[in-house]
């Protein structure tokens, strides 16, 4: 088996934030020396494209179901490091029930939520984090509700030892350190969730620097930091 990152398996769109998240994750797991015992669970959304990307055990689950699946794995194999990779839809819509309950039970799992504010794989429909007023195929009149702050919601139910944070794919210093902290929190037996603001030029229909500008503007709405 190839122990390197499989670049030919990179099916992500050009300009997507997922590869940045994945490569940072791989670096963190290597640095912490837990790569061999790690498993990466994927949602069915754009995260599914990572199935054969990293040199670690990876399996797809179902949309919204990565949290309970890796919880089951972790409970069965306590010395493993389990990471669930999901988008904003998988985490905060269909998977919200299980995400909240994993936090509530303080399950020692690490969930990375890649938030690009849309259901990207299916073409850009409205997601829990879509901005107010934004028009999508399923909200042609513009979204009426304020976007969901998933991390704030989790903070209401999580233990104080849980690690909850938000960063961005271009927040290079914190991206790596938050993911590291999230893994360490799992090792110490607690729940961790890091939301990572990300880019989707395909569905945002942006080019070049506009993509970065849009990403940076999201930081006004979704505050970065540890919560």
């Amino acid at each position: 088996m190839n122990k390197e990152i499989n670049n030919s398996a990179c099916k992500f769109c050009p300009g997507c934030g997922y590869p940045i998240v994945l490569m940072t994750l791989e670096k963190v797991l290597s640095d912490l020396g837990v790569k061999e015992k790690s498993v990466l669970g994927l949602d069915i959304g754009c995260s599914l494209l990572a199935w054969n990307f990293l040199p670690i055990n990876t399996f797809q689950t179902h949309h919204g179901r990565v949290t309970p699946t890796i919880m089951g794995f972790k409970r069965a194999k306590k010395d493993s490091t389990v990471i669930g990779l999901t988008g904003d839809g998988g985490a905060y819509a269909i998977g919200l029930q299980s995400l909240l309950w994993a936090a509530r039970r303080d399950e020692p799992v690490t969930i990375l939520v890649v938030n690009n504010t849309v259901y990207a794989m299916t073409g850009g429909q409205t997601a829990p984090t879509t901005l107010k007023g934004q028009k999508t195929d399923t909200t042609p009149q513009g979204v009426e509700a304020e976007p969901l702050d998933g991390i704030k919601l989790l903070r209401e139910v999580a233990s104080e030892k849980a690690f909850l944070a938000r960063t961005a794919v271009n927040d290079i210093g914190n991206l790596k350190s938050y993911i590291e902290k999230a893994i360490e929190t799992q090792k110490s037996g607690h729940f961790a969730c890091v939301e990572i603001l990300s880019m989707c030029p395909t569905n945002w229909k942006t080019k070049g620097v506009d993509t970065i500008n849009k990403l940076n503007s999201l930081k006004e709405v979704f505050k970065l930091g540890i919560f």
Binding site: M1, N2, K3, E36, K37, V39, G41, I44, L48, W51, N52, P55, I56, N57, T58, F59, Q60, T61, H62, R65, P68, T69, I70, M71, G72, F73, K74, R75, A76, K77, S80, Q97, S98, L100, W101
Partner: protein, 342 residues
Amino acid sequence: MNKKQFLTGSEVVVRGAIDAGTSMMYGYPITPGTEVFTGWVGSGKKYLQTEDEIAAGFAMCGAVIAGQKTFTATAGPGHVLMQDGLSMAEGMRLPFVAVVAQRGGPSSGTVIYSQQEVTLAVYGGNGEGMRLVYSASNLEELYLLTRLAFNNAWKYRFPTIVLTDGYLLKTKGVVDFSKFEKLENVKPYPLVKEGEIKHWRNIFTFEEELFEEIEKTKVDFDKMSVEVAESEEYETEDAEILIIAHGIVGAAAKLAVQKLRIENKKVGLWRPITLRPLDNEGLNKNLNKVKKVLIVESSLGQLSKLVKDGIKDCANVSFEYLQKPAVGIEAEEIMDKILKIK
């Protein structure tokens, strides 16, 4: 270990899971399966009550991927939700074991009993129903099938369901465990191993990729079928009328056959023990002996459809049906129906 015990069906299932070396149960309270869950909890073994059956199903998937023998018990609307996890188990060949206590349906139906979850158990996901589904007709069989479910799920890697119902789980009866002393357990093993790198998908980019995957699975399924499909023939040697029934209705049918034979009526019973894969060989062999068949079930034809699907050639057989969805069927009713058949 006492040989003969007076136990309820729920207690028998728990005992079966424990004896199978199961170490974990994921569950959610739902009548009439709740006592299996609370019984397991009471035994001191590891468990988790999840937020819903969807989470229970997926937690089980994660657990078996890590190599842990685990199971759940559900019913009715919970069984419906469990299909999401079952579907993934079907697609990824996971040793997923569920005890399903049928209740009246659809929707919330009744909490007691039916045989209306057969189609759901066999074909519930969005696939081809490549699953192992057992149907228990009495307490000792419920124990045995629970043990077999774990063994065969881990041996063949198809999601496995033991179908029962509220009557059987609530029935208290005498079980002689000395009959099962020789049963051995298949050991679980991790499907994703440390030190290896497995890249495992359940979604495919190209149709042909999935087609090939399904073809491979079908080959394995057919191989398993030969080894695992099971049925019971009772008094069929010289039978003129064949009754086909499963689960607890199969037990009522057996009693009916016993009573009819005392009156010299030539009736026999073919009782499927696996609903999927159906023992088509046993079915057709017994069909060939008779001219008339009565299919009895507490549903509007879910068993009949499976049976009809397994028949090779029924040009010479006429079918009658006793179908009472959601309601128990007594031996006397079956006898009355048989006596009315010309």
